[in-house]
């Protein structure tokens, strides 16, 4: 966290000095007065004012800047749009070479999301869920997972055997668990440790 301590004749002057050093405006700073200072008699026994000024960072802005930087350094021309809701922050990437940013089964997109999440959590006081999306990939993936879930449930019921899925990230497993929680003929559970944790769909006997 960036902060400076400044000393000047008055509190206001000290604050201004610190803001200038940090190169920020007052609305982006947290000011603590360490010493109010005192004006002495005829300029004698003057005591200067001392203040501490801290830069306030917006975790979400940091995250967005981080993501934009990374995409640019990856050699991809793309823009990032931010959509904030109560539940989560969505950062949506659009531009050229999006396939490169999504990767096989979305693994590059998931990695970008994980790294962006780490940056947010460094600055945020409480956990802020971040979704990084591109070309509606998350929605398309969700539809594909829902279909896959139904297909595997049918297979498990028909064969009477457990069906194992490929390892999936936690929120993708959650989609499958949720979809099949309504199906009384099968039960779902996860096996293994991250990042190789996978879902098993088992028929109910």
């Amino acid at each position: 966290m960036k902060e400076v301590t400044a000393t000047a004749a008055t509190v206001d002057e000290a604050v201004q000095l610190a803001l200038n050093q940090l190169g920020i405006s007052k609305d982006r700073a947290e000011v603590t007065v360490l010493d109010e200072g005192k004006k002495g008699f005829l300029g004698l026994f003057n005591k200067p004012a001392v203040v501490k000024v801290k830069v306030l960072v917006n975790p979400i802005e940091e995250a967005e800047t981080f993501l934009k930087n990374i995409i640019q350094k990856m050699g991809v021309e793309a823009s990032v749009e931010r959509i904030e809701s109560e539940k989560e922050i969505r950062l949506i990437i659009s531009g050229e070479k999006i396939g490169l940013l999504i990767g096989k089964h979305g693994q590059t997109l998931n990695s970008l999301q994980l790294l962006t999440q780490l940056v947010v959590n460094r600055y945020a006081e409480h956990y802020v869920p971040i979704i990084v999306d591109a070309e509606n990939y998350r929605e398309r993936r969700k539809e594909a997972l829902v279909q896959l879930a139904h297909k595997l449930a049918e297979k498990a019921i028909k064969t009477g055997q457990e069906v194992k899925l490929e390892p999936l990230p936690a929120y993708e497993r959650k989609i499958i668990h949720a979809v099949l929680s309504d199906n009384r003929k099968v039960t779902t559970f996860s096996v293994g440790t991250e990042p190789h944790r996978y879902i098993v769909v088992a028929p109910v006997k």
Partner: protein, 81 residues
């Protein structure tokens, strides 16, 4: 590959508590580019992450960026001591 090295540096510096101590060294040979990350002792865990999740994500992103050129890219965290 100047951009790739910058990519690695940018990612790592954004994750650690001591960004000024991040050093990325690049070694080139015929078919591969190797990046060795050296960070402050307290930051080693941050760069690797729980069960290697963070370093895995860094590698995935770097590999994606590197797919635009022919060489294979390796990312290591420097062993201390």
């Amino acid at each position: 590959m100047k951009e790739l090295k910058e990519l690695v540096e940018t990612i790592v510096q954004s994750l650690v508590d001591h960004p000024e101590e991040v050093v990325v060294t690049e070694t080139l040979d015929e078919h591969t580019i190797t990046y060795v990350l050296s960070v402050h002792d307290e930051d080693v865990g941050k760069v690797i992450g729980k069960q290697g999740r963070t370093i895995h994500a860094i590698r995935t992103v770097v590999h994606a960026a590197a797919s635009q050129q022919p060489k294979r890219v390796i990312v290591h965290v420097k062993d201390k001591g």
